[in-house]
């Protein structure tokens, strides 16, 4: 078993195309997941039926393997005629759309829990100070609680994001050729598992470590106020 640089070079275009697919799947999921997670996290902080529903949502989508969720969206929903025979089909016939839906649901489940944790960690006194200064609850939420929560959860968000980058590879189950799938295709043709997978691993490594660096910089910027003097 040895690393074959020539094969690695030859398969580079395929792997880069796979990387592009990975991003095409990932980026909308990150944005949509975040947007979806916010109202769920807020509902979770309340009491009563809304909170129960939010808790159920989080439990369900964190619990179901994303592979199954993707299958369900991609192959399961078309069995229903309201999906199959209406305008919805124009969306659901597209594998990217299905990937976005499936992964967004999973991601939003995790994110809702992370955001809830961050919001809960904002000291009550600070919220009261904002209230006493005359800010409306909405202003307090967007201008104070969320910015502070973002600072608390940076690390948890980083972990979720890194795991998300890698678990995007589940989309190969619904025909998308992401980076892992691209490496697997090379592997399928050459029976050399080592070279394409190590090359893919190297690309993942670059992506992830760029993100980690980004987070370190963000942490330094956002948490300036904690810097020891």
């Amino acid at each position: 078993m040895h690393y074959d640089p020539i094969l690695a070079w030859q398969s580079m275009p395929d792997l880069l195309a796979g990387t592009a697919t990975t991003f095409a799947v990932l980026l909308p999921v990150l944005v949509l997941g975040l947007l979806l997670a916010l109202p769920i996290a807020l509902a979770r902080l309340e009491t009563g039926p809304k909170a129960k529903a939010a808790a159920g949502y989080i439990a369900f989508f964190r619990g179901v393997p994303s592979l199954v969720l993707l299958y369900l969206v991609y192959s399961g929903l078309p069995q229903l005629s309201i999906v199959r025979d209406t305008f919805l089909w124009t969306f659901f016939s597209n594998a990217y759309f299905c990937a976005w839906v499936g992964l967004t649901l999973t991601h939003s489940g995790y994110m809702a829990e992370i955001i809830r944790g961050g919001l809960a960690a904002v000291p009550t006194g600070v919220i009261e100070a904002s209230t006493a200064l005359g800010l409306t609850p909405r202003q307090t939420l967007f201008r104070l609680r969320l910015p502070m929560a973002a600072r608390y959860v940076l690390k948890a968000y980083q972990n979720e994001l890194l795991i998300m980058v890698k678990s995007t590879s589940a989309v190969s189950a619904i025909t998308l050729v992401d980076l892992t799938a691209a490496a697997n295709t090379v592997f399928d043709y050459t029976y050399d598992p080592f070279t394409p997978l190590v090359t893919a691993a190297a690309i993942y490594w670059c992506i992830v470590n760029l993100m980690r660096t980004g987070f370190t910089l963000a942490d330094r910027k956002l948490n300036r106020h904690l810097a020891r003097t």
Binding site: P123, G125, V126, E128, A129, S130, T131, A132, L133, G134, L135, T136, Q139, R143, L144, P147, M148, R151, L222, N223, R224, H225, L226, T229
Partner: protein, 262 residues
Amino acid sequence: MNAIVQIPSTADAGRRAAGLQPAISVNRLNKFYGSFHALRDIDFQVAQGEIVVLCGPSGSGKSSLIRCINHLERHDSGSIHVNGMELTRKASDVARVRRQLGMVFQSFNLFPHMTVLDNCTFALRRALRMPAAQAEALAREYLAKVNVANQADKYPAGLSGGQQQRVAIARALCLKPSIMLFDEPTSALDPESVGSVLRIMEELAATGITMVCVTHEMGFARRVAHRCVFMENGAIVEDAHSAEFFRNPRSDRLKGFLAQVL
């Protein structure tokens, strides 16, 4: 340094002389936490420009009263009027009343991720929609008044407790409230910082602003307050001119309390 107060207060807080509207008027106020009766039939008036000190043992309801007045807690019955406006649960009423009130907390509650200057301009810009430049000028003016102008670009964590509390006072003053509420503003401070905050409060008192202050700094109460109110178990036990309050405590409980804290 002490202000010449326009309206001498009467110890009989229930029925105030007519003419000038009271700054704060609390009537038969009751507050429950679940089944716990935290405030019992409170009647409490503060005249315009009056400085009132609230004291009493821990858990007696001092904070609860202050917090009801600016609606950080909802009251369950009775009424609260601030400068003649009734405080109801309507968001618009709450906002109108809060515009009259500045609040300073025991634990400062500065926004840790904003610089001192941003702490002060935050409400000006977001709540009053003041242009940034104007807000900054105003904030710097008040920061200078409390002697922390040179700390404007630091983060709160970089300041001593006394400096933080003075920033908190400046932050509240920026909004030009007609009434300031203080909830144990010095009890989280080290002994030397206490002095600097009390001095700022004295200067503030001299400007004729109305102040309600929960504190155990009896020296401050004696020197600055017009009236002292002693609470216990959610009720007002004594309410008297401050000279009278210290010289002639009527109830045994207040006598005991003063013996402890003096």
